[in-house]
Subunit: 368 residues, 2 copies
């Protein structure tokens, strides 16, 4: 079932098929199927293959009136949130996650979405989809609320791998630029390299080398390299893509989320403090809702795995229906743009030799 | 002038003397002297030695009515914000920064405050005050708004050095614990080690080793080690002290500040959006002001240098009078608690051998 035809509206229409792992995530199949329902309602051009325990999923799909939009693939096993990636790579063949990734590998779906265990999803995706030639370390890219025209920056790597050398950082710059072009519609993305100071004498050796490599490659890749940026620039309008290693990126992402969540909580307390402030909150409800929406992490839900032969979107484990629907929307947009092929072409065009050419990870900390 | 006597209120009183570099900082001597005036008014127990160009400072001090509280030390030169630390170490003898640090070295003041160039201030402080026996790498500790009872966590290192091995991380845990006890009044500080996941199989090798070292030393040091924490835990009530290397800590600090500043800006926009929301903002003014104060970075202004024979407080370069006054308050509190001596005793009691025993840095990336 690669495509289905719907002649009800404007003749034969090709549906983009998204493969969804229904079993990952803290809230289980009900949240995932609700998210599918939200997306299905908004966008008639998406078809779904849903992977997991059919006995749990089928009633939910039926109740949501989605039987004509969803094909269900019954799988017996589930990857738990604390499963070790290496274990899943060896023993995960009967899991919903594996089946969901394989639907992309087999060309039945154009992208996969999972709320499951990040490390396991990366391991299974690398094993089944393989890396794009020229890419040594795949990366996870996230969207970040910012002062940009579009309202979002991209940051990568936010946790695929805990380290990166200068050539990995160069590849992240190229892959992130390609994502910004195809996912956010930015013609000439501005790339910044995360460091502790903007002066060129600061920072680690590999970051300094990466600076020179990216500066050299940027013009040919139609990227604008703005040089070093600091943590404070992440939500700014100075850059579209922030490049860093997975350790630093993961800490920054979670620190930003934690800070936003603390402020939201304090804001709620402030408006509940007095009768007068409760009344004020009521008056400002529209404005406050717009603000809350702007910084709602569920709206930017979806880490994209870059550097694989196929589009993989990792949704937050705690995602609710809104979160799952955001991740599906992102997967759909990337599938429609032919993103994976464009990214592969971009990486190939730079002619950077790969560390390893067998398509398998040479250094496999990403699986640890 | 180590102490001055003030018989006006309750007999002979010993003043704690704070040495202030008036020339660092983006706003120059006027902001620094205004900050001194704020502190002097609130706290009659502080005396000041103010370092910088007397021709600029004296009129400000006189106008603020502070001539009996401030001794002025005339210095001809200023450390610029882009000066290289190594250059300042060789040629900085006539700068206000050097003079300010020397007042602590000579026992004339109990702590020093500067808004100047961080790298230069660390280099001059290390050169003049020397490291505490047993400490290899001094660290910069910052306060972070959190859900703690006191409203603040401590994070270190936030930028003294871009790397740290397991023994450095252990020392940061001990020094941060001592700071939490003496600066925040927490009897048994909870220590967390920053990592990308709370599972023990994740993270870099030196972080895993540090985990074991800290777990082993914590009981004797009267610390509660909570193990690994993630970026999202920084503003939480799980920990009082977050331990990390200076690269990661600096990125996290600036990311948190940047996120808070983006949200403040969006909040302002939201309340200015309509007439109704402007009216609402007026009604909620009291509550909003309390919130703004709670997350105001000026209130937590002051990175403390830990591991030196003397208390050094680095204020934000952009600090205004409120920011400078916060930094002075922090310096006063630490000076009063005899913090430096207690910290030295704590580090010595762990009996950890130092990497180097000559009191000078063996690895001097911190000066780069």
């Amino acid at each position: 079932m690669t495509t289905t035809f719907d002649q009800s509206t404007h003749g034969a229409r090709r549906r983009t098929v998204i493969s969804v792992d229904a079993m990952g995530g803290d809230q289980g199949p009900p949240a995932v199927v609700s998210g599918i329902a939200k997306s299905a309602e908004k966008n008639p051009d998406i078809g779904f293959i849903v992977h997991g325990r059919a006995a749990e999923i089928a009633p939910l799909v039926e109740k949501a009136g989605l039987t004509d939009r969803c094909e269900i693939r019954d799988t017996a096993e589930v990857v738990t949130m604390d499963a070790k990636p290496a274990h899943v790579m060896r023993n995960g063949k009967n899991t919903s996650m594996w089946s969901a990734v394989d639907a992309v590998k087999n060309g039945e779906a154009q992208a996969v979405v999972s709320c499951g265990n990040t490390g396991a999803l990366m391991a299974v995706s690398m094993l089944r989809l393989r890396k794009i030639p020229g890419v040594d370390r795949p990366a996870i890219a996230c969207l970040w609320p910012s002062r940009n025209t579009g309202g979002f920056n991209i940051m990568l790597d936010v946790g695929a791998d805990i380290r990166a050398d200068e050539r990995d950082l160069l590849q992240y710059a190229l892959m992130g630029g390609s994502y910004a072009r195809n996912g956010l519609g930015i013609d000439r993305p501005r790339i910044g390299l995360l460091n502790v100071g903007t002066e060129e004498h600061k920072g680690r050796a590999e970051i300094k080398s990466a600076h020179d490599l990216i500066a050299e490659m940027a013009p040919a890749a139609e990227l604008e390299f703005v040089g070093f940026v600091e943590g404070g620039d992440i939500p700014s309008n100075r850059v579209d893509v922030i490049v860093t290693d997975g350790f630093t990126g993961n800490v920054a992402l979670k620190t930003g989320e934690g800070t936003a969540s603390l402020i939201r909580e304090l804001l709620r307390e402030a408006f509940n403090a007095t009768l007068l402030s409760k009344f004020a909150a009521l008056l400002a409800l529209g404005s406050l809702k717009r603000l809350t929406k702007r910084i709602d992490p569920r709206r930017v839900n979806g880490g994209v795995f870059l550097g694989l032969n196929g589009t993989v979107v990792k949704s937050h484990g705690s995602a609710d229906a809104t979160g799952v629907s955001s991740a599906i929307k992102l997967a759909f947009r990337l599938a429609e743009s032919g993103f994976t092929d464009r990214l592969a072409a971009r990486v190939a065009s730079t002619g950077q030799p790969s560390h390893d050419d067998d398509g398998m990870p040479e250094k496999n900390e990403q699986n640890a």
